[in-house]
Symmetry: C2
Subunit: 343 residues, 2 copies
């Protein structure tokens, strides 16, 4: 009713005009090499002249696939995801897929409802940052026979057999800790990510392991449960700096946390890194513009996106990927927010 002003040509109209049959038009559009050059040019010309654009819904219905993929994120405002999403878009486009982006706000119900888009045939597969797999699975049966094409990005669910792309968060926690230990820090505070999130737990694990290995004990009062937001960085610093025995360094499990922490430390009058060092994780673009520029353990965000998209589309198209799990290398970016521990 609404917008009939756009008369939609059907393939039959083109066929009639060009004096060929529909099959030929379809072949010309989808398998150009199966049509003689002469007919191809003829059909193409008519298509151009009349401005025909095939209805992809019809094609999708017939072919049983939509050539769309979905990305589920807990929070698209987190700049961590931007480069990942952008890369996924680029690769998908190159391979003929469109991307549907979803902000699930970490809500299981929303995750499941979005996941239904696979069942409704609106998308052919899903890239998800959630460690909850939004499909019912029977653990006694092989997973890949029950799940639609799905790739776990950055955050991993604990099921084996689910394709995953991300980093080694235990190692990240260790590397960050060792960087601070190397500067002589012994009282290191931690502002974690969202507590139920695996990446946060693993970074904590790596952190503790590094301390243990260096024979440094950890004061549990120096641990603040954050949630990967700037706000939790602010709150964490405020809480911890009230302690009698203050830390000389903060290990923030995300760059956004670190940005908030830097802000709060500034407010309280501390100098970074002279009084207190701060290290983050993620390597978001803005981290280099912090005051001071943030030392951080950078993730290969573009690469994560690249692997996710490639993996998912391979799965969709039935190409068996050689590897289902990709753990990509991280990199410690030493900038100005960390320095020697004060005496």
């Amino acid at each position: 009713m609404a917008h009939n002003q756009f008369k939609h040509l059907a393939m039959g109209d083109i066929a009639k005009k060009a004096g060929v049959c529909m099959a030929t038009v379809s072949r010309t559009l989808n398998n150009p090499d199966r049509v003689s050059e002469k007919t191809r040019n003829l059909v193409m010309k008519v298509v151009e002249d009349m401005g025909y654009i095939p209805n992809r819904l019809a094609a999708s219905l017939r072919q049983g696939r939509s050539r769309n993929i979905a990305i589920m994120l807990p929070d698209i405002t987190n700049p961590y995801f931007s480069p990942i999403v952008r890369t996924i878009e680029q690769i998908s486009l190159a391979r003929g897929y469109s991307v549907i982006l979803k902000d699930t706000q970490d809500d299981p119900a929303l995750e499941r409802s979005f996941a239904e888009m696979v069942k409704t045939r609106q998308v052919d597969g899903i890239i998800t940052n959630s460690q909850r797999i939004p499909f019912d699975v029977d653990l006694t049966l092989p997973l890949h026979e029950q799940l639609p094409p799905i790739v776990n990005a950055s955050e991993f669910c604990d099921l084996d057999g689910i394709p995953k792309v991300g980093v080694d968060n235990v190692a990240i926690g260790k590397d960050a800790a060792e960087h601070l230990l190397g500067f002589g820090h012994r009282r290191i505070a931690v502002i974690t990510g969202t507590s139920h999130i695996l990446s946060s737990q693993q970074r904590e694990k790596g952190f503790r392991a590094a301390l243990l290995q260096a024979n440094v004990s950890f004061d549990e009062k120096l641990l603040y449960q954050g949630d990967y937001s700037c706000e939790s960085g602010v709150a964490g610093v405020r809480a911890i700096m009230q302690l009698k025995e203050r830390p000389t360094a903060f290990f923030c499990f995300g760059d956004q946390i670190a940005i908030g922490a830097l802000h709060a430390l500034r407010e309280l009058g501390y100098k970074v890194p002279e009084d207190i060092s701060v290290i983050g994780v993620d390597g978001i673009a803005l981290s280099q513009y912090c005051a001071p520029p943030l030392t951080t353990v950078a993730q290969p965000l573009t690469q994560i996106g690249e692997y996710c998209a490639t993996l998912l589309i391979d799965l969709i198209e039935g190409k068996q990927p050689e590897k289902l799990v990709h753990i990509l290398p991280h990199q410690l970016l030493i900038r100005a927010s960390t320095g020697p521990a004060p005496k």
Copy 2:
């Protein structure tokens, strides 16, 4: 071929199992009130038990609409867009639409190709930040008869009759300038947004008007063409601070520019706001965590998203909106990056 492991029930299967006809199943699912409670419960139970989920592609094909909308952005990594996109998603979801997000990288060809998704019936409408309308229009005919549902967000094309949601950028330029003038600044540098973008041109216009009105002349050497990126903020400051006659304030046409500018000023050893004031535009979430917290002219980002989504969906559904153009109020957030001009 790829994933037949998911046997897809069709509506006929449900009808048979429930002992009713397909029309009844369809009615139950789409117009529950046109079916007796008894049959409704029966059908619903079968639907639940068998886990039936209707194929939306088929429905879309038949109904001639996909219940998808597209958002075209030049750069999804710009945190300016995040709250807008998130709000659009929320409203769309509530009204039964899915959102397809596109990063066009300001490329006209990409914009056009994405816009074709309307013609291929993959989306019912578009929200675009580009001032290029990616459809051919005949200016002698009424626009609304030629264009599919489309809404211009934040950046406006120069055609009348296109639905638009945004702010008054001339006023924003004026307000920012007057704030600095009020602090006694007379040499104010400007780092603009992308030069061909209307919002940047208008902010400049407002800025110049305010100076003129205050009887302050503008030194053209204090104008640096940026592109809304952090990098251009850095570059702008470096270029302008090499001048013999330096400014006492920077008006950055975007918060990202301002973040880069703050960074570069810090590198050069200037104190903000004691030596130099900096004001931004946009009011992105991170602006409050800058060092010092950024004075900025904030846009009502959530509201922009809200109006865009509502407007577009109303257009799609044939409801004639009362207003096609919404200019929403901005707000000067005075924080710590601006202060009195040094003597």
